[in-house]
């Protein structure tokens, strides 16, 4: 009896693995192998069409003395530090507004969600025109209000803020997550708070935000990872140059240029691993500290 049982277990295991095998093979071939290969290439001089040549730590050493590398790191950190929280706040405020019981709410929700399904390239081109310093809608409005109109993508000082402003346009996904979260906040808490005479702000601070903190945390982690890999918009809006004067040369853009424009695949792989380590450390830091500010309900 026992042997038959273990035979079935083994058979089930074998069949299970066979059924999963497309996924397992796909993961091994298209994810694990490239990841490991890129680690190997990061120690090589590898111009792609010629075989890689082992050069030890040379790529990493060059990297840490490359001024453009630091510029790109700074650009990315700047973008991540400003854009991530800004997008979360925008999404949260939008979700709060779209959670009201008003007629035609579905229409409003759709309107605010639509930008996030516009393809990134199309959105970037659109924003390039909105941000046009001479004829753009944004500057026309600013001039109308007698506010000095910046040069946006033409000015090294304003190029990053322009991209950050643009990022708030695509918060539809985050907004949906908050909306879902808002449905989960127990209404009896609000009722109790109302009876106690708590103001809207106090309710927000003591009920809504604690209940939404897991969502905020999730968006913070994902937002940071996305911001660290920021590429498409900068590539499209600057014609792949990262200009003016390197102000939008983000880490991934510089990585791409090294890999596919200068054919320094080894160097680009080294950059990718540095980026991976940075993201890993920062995410770990976020997780380690999360117990202090994330409330999963019922524990306290």
């Amino acid at each position: 009896m026992k042997s038959r049982n273990s035979k079935t277990v083994r058979q089930n295991f074998r069949n299970g693995v066979l059924f999963c095998s497309p996924l397992i093979i796909g993961l091994l071939v298209f994810t694990v192998y490239p990841v490991l290969a890129s680690l190997y290439y990061s120690f090589c001089r590898y111009p792609m069409l010629k075989p890689p040549v082992w050069i030890g730590l040379a790529n990493y050493r060059t990297l840490f003395s490359d001024t453009v590398f630091y510029t790109s790191l700074w650009n990315t950190a700047y973008y991540a530090a400003v854009s991530t929280p800004l997008c979360i706040i925008t999404a949260f405020l939008l979700a709060l507004m779209l959670n009201q019981k008003v007629k035609g709410m579905a229409v409003f929700r759709t309107m605010f969600f639509v930008p996030s399904i516009v393809p990134m390239v199309a959105g970037s081109v659109l924003w390039l025109w909105l941000l046009n310093p001479q004829y753009g809608l944004i500057n026309i409005v600013l001039r109308g209000m007698h506010i000095p109109a910046p040069g946006w993508m033409a000015d090294p000082l304003w190029a990053k803020p322009a991209l950050i402003l643009m990022s708030t346009w695509g918060v539809g996904g985050s907004m949906l997550i908050f909306l879902a979260g808002l449905q989960d906040v127990p209404t009896d808490l609000y009722e109790a708070a109302d009876i106690d005479g708590a103001s809207f702000i106090r309710q927000l601070w003591h009920i809504t935000i604690p209940f939404l903190s897991p969502h905020i945390f999730f968006l913070l982690v994902m937002g940071f990872i996305n911001a660290a890999q920021y590429f498409t918009q900068a590539y499209v809006m600057t014609g792949g140059t990262g200009g003016p004067v390197d102000s939008t040369r983000f880490f991934s853009l510089y990585l791409f240029q090294n890999a596919f424009q200068y054919w320094k695949m080894g160097y680009a792989c080294a950059m990718a691993w540095v980026l991976f380590v940075v993201i890993l450390l920062f995410t770990l830091l976020l997780f380690k500290t999360s117990a202090k500010y994330v409330y999963y309900g019922g524990e306290k």
Partner: protein, 438 residues
């Protein structure tokens, strides 16, 4: 169960029969065996249709060969699809390569040298405009033939604006000093906002190329092939950059940047819109003008240069055809390359159908256009052309470094001398590595 078995047999039979039929129909066609070859090209939009017409003309005149075309986008340094194909050893038979990319692609081992075929077909260097030939010769071998030479640049000017500000509409600037004077007259700044400029010297075809164009016009040099030294810090190149920076300083770079944002080619070309009065111009602009600004009253001339510079300065770019290493039908591929680049029929077709100048000096196409007031200027420029981009395997990196130097200097982050000095050292390091690493 039985039903399944029957079905299985039925499907197998259908498959086998259909594959046999497929073979037979192939056989019946191949009485005169047709060799199908493929070419990958970067010509999009209208150019794609024109290129297809060139290929059709070849297919009609060569019954034994059929050329298939495939559009593969290409940037300044790279054609990703092609490179992937090379890595996978599954290449097309002919590839279009930018003249400045030839040495890099050859160095990467992606191309087949053409020397033996050139000797057999009697193709000689003197058949081609010298810079066209030079840009395809690397490490003593020839890797590609020029398909469309692209003499860079003519100066185009808008006669209407010249008249409007009291300049003689038929007298373009002949020196840098004159160009500056004209620019001052034409440029209009209202409430701190630039509304019109005479010229933005670096505004078209990329900042890296602008550095090359004016560097040569000022009499500078970018590379010494004998010593294999990068010479972007040549005092005359620095002079050229200082001249461009003088524009950035005079009008405030961020304001010029703001003015230039959104300006582009085709219908957004600021020259057609009267936003600038002078511009650098290349051959395809002429067909653009016909399409987007048919009423533009304009003239074309050589680039102006300073007294210590180079008169009638220009350099050549353009597209070339090469045979990738390991292609399946190199002989048929060569027939196509030779037809397009080295025969009267082929080069005329390229000229007439695509509006590109062949690199082949004796092409009958040049007789067609020699009396055209605008095309003939470009022909003169091509005939007098002395330069091509440095024939080095790190050319894309070099152009990019020059562009960076220009931007840094324009925005006042570095002095022209320091910026070009940095470009020189950076590119030299890359070049030495590429040459050492055979």
């Amino acid at each position: 169960m039985a039903l399944f078995r029957v079905l299985r047999y039925a499907i197998c039979t259908i498959l086998i029969v259909s594959s046999l039929v497929g073979c037979r129909s192939g056989e019946s066609q191949s009485k005169t065996p047709i060799q199908v070859i493929s070419i990958w090209h970067p010509f999009g939009g209208v150019q794609k249709e024109e290129f297809d017409q060139v290929v059709d003309a070849f297919n009609k005149s060569h019954p034994g060969i059929h050329v298939d075309t495939l559009f593969t986008p290409q940037d300044d340094s790279n054609n990703q699809k092609f490179f992937t194909a090379v890595a996978a050893k599954n290449v097309p038979d002919v590839i279009v390569v930018g003249g400045h990319q030839t040495p890099a692609w050859a160095e990467q081992g992606a191309l087949e040298p053409l020397d033996d075929r050139l000797i057999k077909s009697g193709v000689k260097p003197e058949d081609y405009f010298a810079p066209c030939w030079r840009q395809n010769t690397y490490r003593g071998r020839v890797w590609a033939l020029t398909y469309g030479a692209d003499p860079n640049f003519a100066l185009i000017w808008n006669k209407r604006i010249f008249k409007e500000v009291g300049l003689d509409p038929n007298r373009p600037p002949r020196s840098i000093e004159e160009l500056d004077r004209y620019n001052d007259k034409i440029t209009r700044v209202v409430n701190g906002k630039i509304e019109r400029m005479g010229i933005i010297p670096w505004s078209r075809y990329g900042v890296g190329n602008a550095m090359l164009t004016w560097g040569w016009a000022f009499g500078g040099n970018f590379y010494n092939p004998k010593t294999r030294k990068i010479t972007a810090n040549d005092p005359k190149v620095i002079k050229a950059l200082e001249w461009m920076v003088s524009y950035a300083k005079k009008y405030d770079m961020t304001k010029i940047g703001a003015f230039g944002q959104g300006q582009g080619s085709r219908e957004q070309n600021p020259l057609y819109l009267g936003q600038v009065a002078m511009q650098l111009c290349y051959i395809p602009d002429l067909s653009d003008i016909r399409m987007y600004a048919p009423n533009l009253d304009y003239g074309l001339t050589f680039l102006p240069s300073p007294p210590s510079g180079e008169d009638h300065s220009s350099w050549v770019g353009g597209y070339c055809l090469a045979i990738p290493k390991g292609c399946r039908n190199p002989n048929a591929a060569w027939t196509f390359v030779e037809w397009c680049c080295h025969t009267p029929q082929g080069t005329s077709a390229v000229g007439r159908l695509m509006g590109m100048f062949p690199g082949y000096r004796k092409s009958p196409y040049f007789r067609d256009i020699k009396d055209d007031p605008h095309y003939s200027i470009f022909l003169q420029i091509l005939r007098e052309c002395r330069h091509q981009r440095p024939v080095i395997p790190v050319q894309p990196f070099y152009t990019e470094a020059l562009g960076r130097a220009l931007e840094m200097a324009l925005y006042g982050r570095m002095t022209p001398e320091a910026a070009l000095g940095k470009a020189t050292t950076d590119v030299q390091v890359e070049l030495d590595l590429a040459i050492a690493c055979k």
